[in-house]
């Protein structure tokens, strides 16, 4: 018969694995037992050259009705944006930043082509856009809505939309009224897309707060009705471009209800691409206080809200950016969320596009890429030109008193019944507290199946500003993807990329003919040996941002490209064999 030890001995024996489990938890708290990626040599650096480039833009947050003064830092924590376009057609990408306080100007930095910029917003009529009668700017997107060859600009605000027609590359005319776009929306995002493939850019504008006047509130009951499934936000709107042949110029028609895309889920960002390969651009939404949403385009006749595996994770979607994460020839979605150690791990989503075969996205974010803090704008870009996308993620919400955190206060109401937080007046006063402040940006180095590793410090990204919008552009036309970050209530940053010079690259400038002239929505699949990668010309991407219209591909050591396949928004498929590398290649859409 087996002899059983005495009770005290048994208890002691059990205590050994018990204590070991606690020690193991402490060890795992420091990180994985085995590093998932060797990021010793990321193959690039990012240098802060903001001052040298002459970019001195500082964002100022808005101020609102004193009735919500107790939580104004929270409500007024958005508005820093950056959008890239070559507005004057000189071949050098320019930068537009928005400001958000009444009287503070927006800024247009014209690229001189010598590494420096000049600020000219006032001289072209794009500066004075933050006025009590009109609202405060939250962001802007460029797009040639009238196909005249000049990039026009839509500015979205907490207030009225504003559409500016680019007259000649040197001045702008506001055409909001004439275009039928004088609508009050509390918007934090907009994208251009040609949803009906008629060759004209349509406009999808997202809404955050419902359409109250935040400076003259009739009620303080303006906040979300759930931290997880809120549906009381503003209504997103889809405007169809009716064309420029009508008297008075181009007009837009509100087709939101007819097309079924009027989400009221506190949308912070939208992105568009043909996710399911049916030839029609779909719309992907990152919603705060709720699950993401995917609207599939049914042949331009209507949009159908589909689950696609997105409904099972309700989080706080801050931005959505599209990119080919693992060179599968697909556009995947990276959606940023909130994580605060000790309080909340909502985790970012890296959703692999499995729409064509499985009608769903699969979230594969784990480890470092899942937790970037309170993450905002993000963009995929090949910073080292090795043929694989890296990810730049801006972080941090409100940096104020370093010694005071609002997280504890937030935790009191976040789990409570909606009645406790739907009214701004019942929130704990914010005071001078920080909320996920002083967080640094992340730069995730792509090691394929080995995982993503944060190399931000290693490559030179160390700022702790409250990052919001991130845009990528080759600002010096030298085959490198530079990073521009708009920071909330703080200075903007320009990080110039310096990739390993041994790697090759190629970039494409697409010009639509049957499609919209900006080629927004065009997707390019590059094939070079064992490398296949897809990129899209975006009409707005990330959070309150828009990238360089030109598509940049790193090639690594590959010395030629087998071919590229261009899927134009018109439906035209164009194949281009053996394009020359290490240069920009301009491609005109074939007429037929």
């Amino acid at each position: 018969m087996l002899h059983r030890p005495a009770p005290a001995v048994r208890q002691t024996i059990i205590a050994v694995p018990f204590l070991a489990a606690i020690l193991l938890a402490m060890r795992l708290d420091r990180g994985p037992m085995r590093r998932v990626a060797d990021a010793a040599h990321p193959g690039f650096v990012l240098r802060d050259e903001t001052a040298a480039a002459g970019i001195d833009f500082v964002h100022h947050r808005p101020t609102f009705d004193p009735k919500i003064a107790s939580i104004e830092p929270h409500v007024a924590a958005l508005g820093a944006s950056v959008s890239v376009a070559d507005f004057d057609g000189d071949g050098w990408p320019d930068l537009y930043f928005t400001n958000s306080r009444f009287g503070e100007p927006n800024a247009l930095y014209r690229n001189r082509g010598n590494g420096t910029f000049e600020e000219i917003a006032a001289s072209v009529g794009l500066a004075d856009l933050n006025r009590p009668a009109d609202g405060a700017s939250m962001g802007a997107v460029w797009g040639d809505f009238d196909n005249d060859g000049d990039e026009d600009l839509l500015v979205y605000r907490y207030g009225y939309l504003a559409l500016f027609k680019n007259l000649d590359g040197h001045s702008f005319e506001e055409v909001t009224f004439k275009a039928g776009l004088r609508r009050w929306m509390n918007s934090n995002g907009a994208i251009w897309l040609d949803y009906d493939r008629d060759g004209l850019l349509d406009l999808y504008v997202t809404a955050y707060f419902r359409d109250v006047d935040l400076w003259h509130l009739a009620t303080t009951k303006i906040m979300h009705n759930s931290f997880e499934f809120a549906t009381n936000g503003g209504k997103n709107l889809l405007f169809r471009n009716l064309g420029g042949t009508r008297p008075g110029g181009t007009r837009f028609e509100d087709v939101t209800d007819r097309m079924g895309v009027g989400s009221t889920r506190w949308t912070l960002a939208a992105a568009s691409a043909d996710f399911n390969g049916d030839g029609w651009p779909d719309v992907y939404l990152a919603n705060d206080y709720g699950p993401e949403e995917l609207y599939l385009n049914d042949n331009g006749r209507r949009f159908v809200l589909t689950t696609a595996g997105l409904e099972s994770e309700s989080k706080s979607g801050m931005s959505v950016t599209l990119g080919d994460a693992f060179n599968r020839g697909r556009l995947d979605a990276f959606v940023t969320n909130i994580s605060e150690r000790g309080y909340l791990f909502q985790n970012n989503n890296l959703r692999l596009n499995q729409m064509p075969e499985a009608s769903r996205f699969r979230n594969v974010a784990e480890g470092e890429i899942a937790d970037a803090g309170w993450a905002w704008g993000a963009q995929f870009g090949d910073f080292n030109n090795d043929g694989a996308n890296e990810l730049f993620v801006a972080n941090g919400f409100i940096s104020a008193d370093r010694e005071k955190s609002y997280w504890y206060s937030m935790s009191k109401i976040a789990g409570a019944n909606a009645r406790f937080f739907e009214d701004a007046a019942t929130w704990p006063p914010f005071g001078n507290a920080s909320l996920s402040g002083y967080e640094r940006s992340r730069v995730y180095f792509n090691r394929g199946v080995a995982g993503w590793a944060d190399v931000a410090r290693k490559v030179g990204v160390t700022d702790e500003y409250d990052g919001r919008a991130v845009a990528l552009a080759d600002l010096s036309n030298r085959g490198a993807v530079d990073v521009i970050v708009a920071n909330q209530n703080q200075p903007a940053m320009l990080y110039r990329a310096y990739p390993d010079t041994t790697n090759h690259w190629i970039a494409f400038t697409l010009v639509g003919t049957r499609s919209n002239r900006s080629a927004i929505g065009a997707e390019v699949v590059l094939e070079a040996g064992n490398l296949t990668q897809r990129r899209i010309v975006d009409g707005g991407s990330g959070f309150a941002s828009q990238n360089d219209r030109r598509l940049h591909f790193g090639l690594g050591a590959r010395e030629w490209v087998d071919r590229i396949v261009i899927h134009w928004p018109s439906g035209t498929r164009q194949v281009l064999p053996r394009p020359p590398i290490d240069r920009f290649v301009t491609i005109l859409e074939p007429e037929r």
């Binding site: 204590l19 890429i369 937790d371």
Partner: protein, 302 residues
């Protein structure tokens, strides 16, 4: 006697028998039913679990640990219901960084093994789930957080769980603990808000959240870790609420506590006051235990 009357009498008799059987039912079955109800409602209405792999892992580790440790310690495999309750509770409460699964495995093992490793006079002192969550929040604050907002902040779901929960804790005989704690929470935190010059509503708001539902129905009322005697149970419930108020007061003033204390003050209040009260209770009962007659608290949830 008419047929109808006979039928009615038979039905009454059947009902009485059912009630009788119900009253003899092990309270753990009722608690298991409630936690399952919460789990199903949370998952199907709000997709709250975050992955069935978490649930499977947590349940597997809890039940396997319970079976193995009870066999080793007592020479027999005990009823696994309490392990089931712990497994479901941990699945609902643990929110890991980056979808990590290890907190569910380690949490499950810590919950169950704490019952065997941390004992006094043949009784465990901590509610297993409470211990596991507290330990993880202290040992791995950078990787583990606790349920902070779920159930959609929705009044209907809140009410359903409160109604079922109150019925079941009443049936288990611990309703007075739940009510005492809730009342104490409301009073003490209102006083705290007044003392700090803060609005009252945000300070009493947490009690309406799902974390507190799990706390008042599954942790603070755990029949195996509460003290004996209704009056003493009420006093301990008040002390737990008082400790929580002190933790919150410390957080209000930015005192250097581990983050977990601010994120889950109720859990740490129970984790500190509960075992001390139980230990004192067991010491007090020693003379009776000499004759093998320690008064058992009703049933046993975990």
């Amino acid at each position: 006697m008419s047929g109808a009357a006979r039928t009615t009498g038979a039905e009454r008799s059947a009902l009485a028998r059912a009630l009788q059987r119900g009253s003899e039912l092990d309270p753990r079955y009722l608690i298991a039913f409630l936690i399952t109800l919460v789990l199903v409602a949370a998952q199907f209405r709000y997709h709250m679990v975050g992955g069935y792999d978490r649930l499977v892992l947590s349940l597997a580790v809890c039940t396997a640990s319970e079976a193995l440790l009870s066999w080793f310690d007592r020479g027999k495999v005990v009823n696994l219901l309490s392990a089931y309750i712990s497994g479901v509770s941990l699945t609902l409460l643990i929110k890991p960084q980056g979808g990590a699964l290890w907190p569910f495995a380690l949490g499950g093992f810590l919950a169950i093994s704490s019952k065997y490793a941390l004992r006094y006079r043949d009784n465990h002192l901590w509610n297993p789930t409470n211990f596991a969550i507290s330990a993880l929040l202290l040992a791995a604050p950078d990787r583990v957080s606790v349920l902070s907002h779920q159930f959609g902040n929705d009044l209907t779901t809140n009410l359903v769980i409160w109604v079922f929960g109150l019925i079941i804790v009443a049936r288990v005989g611990v309703l007075h603990i739940t009510l005492t704690y809730v009342a104490s929470f409301l009073v003490l935190n209102s006083v705290r808000a007044g003392a700090l010059g803060q609005p009252v509503l945000p300070e009493i708001a947490p009690i309406t959240g799902p974390m507190y539902q799990l706390f008042v129905f599954f942790m603070i009322t755990d029949p195996r870790t509460i003290v004996s005697g209704r009056r003493r149970q009420i006093v301990v419930a008040i002390l737990i609420a008082l400790m929580e108020t002190l933790i919150r007061f410390a957080s209000d003033n930015g005192w250097p506590l581990p983050t977990g204390f601010s994120a889950a003050p109720a859990f740490f209040a129970l984790a500190t006051v509960g075992p001390m009260a139980k230990w004192l209770d067991l010491r007090r009962l020693r003379p009776a235990s000499a004759s093998g007659a320690i008064p058992r608290t009703p049933g046993g949830s975990e």
